[in-house]
Symmetry: C3
Subunit: 318 residues, 3 copies
Amino acid sequence: MALYHPQLNSHGELKHLLTIEGLPAAILTQILDKAEDYVSVSDQEIKKLPVLTGKSVFNLFFENSTRTRTTFEIAAKRLSADVINLNIGASSTSKGETLLDTIHNLEAMHADMFVVRHAESGAPFLIAKHCKPSVSVVNAGDGRHAHPTQALLDMYTIRHYKKEFQNLRVAVVGDILHSRVARSQIHALTTLGVPEVRVIGPKTLLPKDIEKMGVQVYHDMRAGLKDVDVVIMLRLQNERMNGALLPSAQEYFKYYGLTLDKLARAKPDAIVMHPGPMNRGVEIDSAVADGAQSVILPQVTFGIAVRMAVMSILAGNK
Amino acid sequence: MALYHPQLNSHGELKHLLTIEGLPAAILTQILDKAEDYVSVSDQEIKKLPVLTGKSVFNLFFENSTRTRTTFEIAAKRLSADVINLNIGASSTSKGETLLDTIHNLEAMHADMFVVRHAESGAPFLIAKHCKPSVSVVNAGDGRHAHPTQALLDMYTIRHYKKEFQNLRVAVVGDILHSRVARSQIHALTTLGVPEVRVIGPKTLLPKDIEKMGVQVYHDMRAGLKDVDVVIMLRLQNERMNGALLPSAQEYFKYYGLTLDKLARAKPDAIVMHPGPMNRGVEIDSAVADGAQSVILPQVTFGIAVRMAVMSILAGNK
Amino acid sequence: MALYHPQLNSHGELKHLLTIEGLPAAILTQILDKAEDYVSVSDQEIKKLPVLTGKSVFNLFFENSTRTRTTFEIAAKRLSADVINLNIGASSTSKGETLLDTIHNLEAMHADMFVVRHAESGAPFLIAKHCKPSVSVVNAGDGRHAHPTQALLDMYTIRHYKKEFQNLRVAVVGDILHSRVARSQIHALTTLGVPEVRVIGPKTLLPKDIEKMGVQVYHDMRAGLKDVDVVIMLRLQNERMNGALLPSAQEYFKYYGLTLDKLARAKPDAIVMHPGPMNRGVEIDSAVADGAQSVILPQVTFGIAVRMAVMSILAGNK
């Protein structure tokens, strides 16, 4: 008898995409391979495929994020789905309806897919656990927990530029503590066989026991960037900049902002990534963001293809 | 010479759907029959029909309601219409434009259908009266007056489970006074030939002279539920819960909240309905809401089909 | 070697639509001719053409305008584009991202067209200057600077009713100083060969040196309307009504509100235009707005066709 798996169906296929943690490398690779097909579609004159014709994709954003919502909306529309955007904070919740009542209602409208963004960690799991077999759930970011499509597009970007994962040194830099992006990236990197994953940041912004995730910890950025192939910068949330954890944005930039000077410690062909939106002059200098090693805009392009890949794979695994 | 009818064209066909009051039973039945076709469409792999291809449906929500707007948006998209969502409170009205100027402007953009939600009773009538013959208006809830598509989906649900209307006892329970849903339900039930319609609620939440609508009045819920076939619960608006009309939500639940115990007074095969969103523990107990007699989620499913039916009939009666 | 032109490509074709100023008459006429085709499409049963199938049109509204956004959304959908509405004020900007970072991100999602509304004059130029060759920009109103599609639909309306431009007297009435609409109209009228363009308004609402735009200035409305063929009224912004520039809305109406009495000074077949939304009783009397000479609603209809024409011409000039 198969054990219950929150994301896989009884054939071991992807049923929901909730977190990178616990997903086999083969499934990550399947998504990256499928995304490769879609990257070429986006370059074509007519960027539309009939993969999700007649399917209803609901963007359920309990936490506002125009940018992320837009990427999913474009991805779904390029696959010919009907897309319904729901900013739930502003509606049912304020009427006192429970999360699961809202979900069951939308299900009853014959939803095929929920793309869920929620401020509370675990909310997409709760939804996936209670929804009908005909519905797939994609986590578009939950609390500090996970942001799997961001991690997948990052993996796509790395594979695109570095061809493989087995011989890489990758550094993730910044506020690891509050970052769902970092958590998903680290799981993806280790699952795909990156032998050396480093995290770099001040003690106040690194989780205790982060080493247990299989990473090496650096507090000194110059040491941490030495000879890496990939530098992944994290966004510093505005609310951290003048709080108890950090003296100031200026101070942060001095020690952990990526400058050309610090980047020179990495390999000459190292690539620089950032999930956006960037705080120029805080975590990254414009000379790096717009420089020759930056692959920040290709990340966005690959992000659409990766989300198309996830949606199309989920739709096929009913 | 034909008399002016606000909802019917000169052939006696549905031109606008503004209220259930005054609609012949044959038209209600036509909508329910058409909806039956669409229920099966929603179950298909590709839930899309070309009925409204190239038509422009405007959701004009002068009062915010994400849930209701979503059901109309889905219904229109499944019929292949172009859907434009307008939250009018936030735009033209604030610029001092009159309601009719707004409507004539949208008409001039070759709108085919207006789905109107408005806090003032009668607003959809005003719009229907002044718009071009090429435009149909659907009332998606106006003030305390009417919510005809909700009543129609409720009738669909009753017919689905009870097969006919001629031998039923139906109870509508709760805040009848402020409820456009209740008003539309009562008109639909009596028009379709339900011989016994009961309303149950505290005196402060029942309109004076409600008996003139052809219903029997009960203030005691146990007496009112005795031997009924259908129990329709109403949502208690939050703003009523601690006002002059009611002592408290707890007190309300004690007397008018639907529990398994009270439900046992109804027939054993009685169904329980609710328009949503539910206040669990206020007007309905979770054991009932999630129980074997609840048909609350099927109501939602039928609601999409009923809205598709209304839109497709209106589009055909130009 | 061709000089850099912000709106034309190296073949002299329209690449972006940013302003009327500097566009050759041939291009304005090309747009009006193309719009004529689309006017008839809007009258058809199925108002949909496959011109932009698979293209992604982004409505980037940094300044809120439901009405203008709606016209572009309808136009794009009737050409079968995928339309993404972004209210940018509420998202990236609040996250501290720069305008160009936002634009480059959307570009990286394979956007084909940006429809831009911005409170700052020149913002659409900045975007057009920095975006990829594959993207076209349409200015949907920038600060006090320009609103070219409004001016084009006005020209379409004039040509529709007056057949030509070469023998007309046209008056633009109201707050010229703060009006991007007026600026674009004046450029369009003079470019298309209207021999006499008049502006009418109080000194406080007329720019200094306005004569340099090739117009005649009138402060007295009766004198200014004498024998004109076309009267174009401007909207008086609410914020002007009780400010330093005007004593009151009543006073304004007395001197510059268009009444039947004042309109009688114009030619008997003069048409009356207004970009909407109207302040009835401030800049225009209802008897005129709803009168026989008003072509205000046809303007709206032509506006959809003109925007379809602009989008389809831009898409063809890649």
